[in-house]
Symmetry: C2
């Protein structure tokens, strides 16, 4: 696997020793998350929206209602930034200054494009579905024509990116270790729980394999 | 409690029946989250960064290294958007089209300002610390002069905002309920776990009350 080029845009300034530019590291964070926070400009001001996504190589795939502002703005070829963050712990140091978070994050920059080819659109929707619910796509009926027409598909080709992984105990100032106070990490766990039927599942229909496989998955 | 004015900027277009403009609803999401995704423009392009934050009334308080790009850009009075999202479940419908997420999100828009007054800065840092680690601030030594000088404090006065809360089972198309497939919700739980000492806690020093209180907290 290669590296994303380090440019003034994606170069990590804060704690640069925690920065990773390898495509493998960036993609690992993207693949672990469920929701990206996508930033774009609308009428000259920044807007950040949570969006589901899929990844295909160095492309993020997004969707939205065809009439939605985000689809309209991004579909016009807007520059965009998508950030995925997974929280792993609260780092409780011996000072407020050194207290922080353990996390994995990926920040990707690119230019959005409306995907119009029907085959490409279907593959993109499948990638988004498979990202959130692996294996579910083939359990479901095919999308209908009206459903497809109501959905805008957007590709964000990753032009530059970085990942940051912070882990481990606090890094306190040498003299602070003499302070008689507890310090360490409070872990944060995000996990998928037991699937709950909607009460309208037909008699005799069991949990599907794709859904059953989700229980216990950690983000 | 009042409402944030509905303007073209914060009006929710997608699923507007799930939109909430009450300050109480917006603040509830902000108070439940740990990290905001903050969007701003840098050299004409959007950047989205995960940041810890605190809230004081209708103001979000942020901090960063004084030399960091984000502090420099935001401190110059840039328009910004901060979005907090909490994931509550994967909505597994009988079609890909109706599958979605249960979540709580708040999107706030404002103009950033560098906080320079020393008392205000200290109150803001305390608000950020208390948001993440309630009660910890008073357990810790006071910040030192050099620590304070290395830290930029930014206020984002909330000019407009909206919250969105999606919950409950899938909303399938009427005819899809005849499909013999499982549908429902896979809950997502994010919780703080058991605090893990860093191995350098002095003998006889117990977990502090503020840290002990975190275990089991659900986001």
């Amino acid at each position: 696997m290669g590296e994303y080029a380090i440019t003034p845009r994606n170069r990590v300034r804060r704690l640069p020793d925690k920065a990773l530019y390898g495509t493998a590291e960036v993609h690992a964070v993207l693949d672990a998350g469920l929701v990206a926070h996508v930033g774009f400009a609308h009428e000259g001001r920044p807007v950040v929206m949570p969006m589901l996504y899929g990844r295909d190589g160095g492309r993020l795939l997004l969707h939205g209602a065809g009439k939605a502002r985000i689809a309209r703005v991004l579909g016009e070829g807007a520059p965009a930034c998508a950030t995925v963050t997974l929280l792993d712990g609260i780092v409780v140091a011996r000072s407020a200054f050194n207290s922080s978070m353990n996390y994995r994050s990926a920040v990707v920059f690119g230019t959005a494009r409306l995907v119009e080819d029907e085959d490409e659109r279907l593959l993109a929707l499948r990638a988004i579905s498979e990202h959130v619910l692996p294996g579910r796509w083939q359990e479901l009926r095919a999308p209908t024509g009206p459903e497809l027409r109501m959905t805008a598909v957007i590709e964000l080709a990753i032009e530059s990116a970085s990942a940051k992984v912070a882990s481990g105990p606090p890094d306190d100032a040498a003299e602070d270790y003499a302070i008689p106070i507890w310090a360490g990490v409070v872990p944060i766990a995000t996990a998928l729980g037991r699937p709950e039927g909607d009460g309208r599942v037909l008699p005799g229909v069991a949990l599907s394999p794709a859904v059953a496989a989700l229980e216990g998955r950690r983000l």
